[in-house]
Amino acid sequence: MNNNSINNSMTKTLTFAFMDPPFEHERTITFFRLLDSALEKNANVRVFAYEGAVALAFARQQPHGNAVHSRDTEAEKHPLTKDWIAALQSKAKDKGLAFEWINCGLCVDERGVNEAIDGCARGGPADFWRYASTAHNTLTIGTR
């Protein structure tokens, strides 16, 4: 099957709402694994990033070296969630799937993380409802 022909009327769309910031919780890793798995199973993916999750797509995230690891910045290759999002965007594109991402605008403002990577837009709860009400199903992952 041509991967670029996956997106048709049979393709399911899944919506995710997520609240956790980068670099703090294992939930963040699990969330990204779920997104990756959804794409792997040929589902379109929509994400509403709420509260701290809006920093996941912050364009100014920077890798750093780690003296304890005896590695410089290049060797350390510190994981950045903005890169994970970009990787999932790329995966979706290669498979002919949609990967949409909306950050809660007020949450962005209060954190000062206005600069998001390409493909991650600003929106609000109405967008989340639009995503959810036209998706096959929705998974909400609240912060704890």
Partner: protein
């Protein structure tokens, strides 16, 4: 599509956001036409008997002027036609059963939660 918003935490974000962030989200989505219900369970049942705003924060000479008012937020949800439920057993376990419940909040038994879930198209457990 009808969605049941399940809130089992209390006071999450209330200090910095000056509201419960899921109650806020629910109000916004209701204004956008969403068909929603709210189930308060776990520690979240405290919201059903809360009767005063959160105490304002104070750090040094910084003083919060608009602390969260959960009672008002739940009242607004009711005004917008969003049903709000609280689980009786969760109130009992926390010694809260018997306190005045906010007007419009329906206290239901744990057994009735099943039907609430059955009646919704989606359950969003926050």
């Amino acid at each position: 599509m009808k969605v049941l918003q399940v809130i089992d935490q209390a006071f999450r974000t209330t200090g910095e956001e000056q509201d419960d962030t899921i109650l806020w989200l629910t109000q916004c989505m209701r204004s956008a036409g969403a068909n929603l219900e709210v189930l308060l369970t776990g520690h979240g049942v405290f919201y059903s008997v809360q009767s005063r705003p959160q105490p304002p924060l104070k750090f040094g000479n910084w003083q919060q002027t608009e602390p969260a008012d959960i009672t008002q937020d739940i009242g607004r949800l009711r005004e917008k036609g969003v049903p709000v439920y609280a689980v009786r057993e969760e109130l009992i376990e926390r010694g809260l059963f018997g306190l005045p419940v906010q007007l419009g909040v329906e206290v239901i038994s744990r057994d009735a939660v099943t039907q609430l879930y059955e009646n919704a198209d989606q359950i969003w457990h926050w």
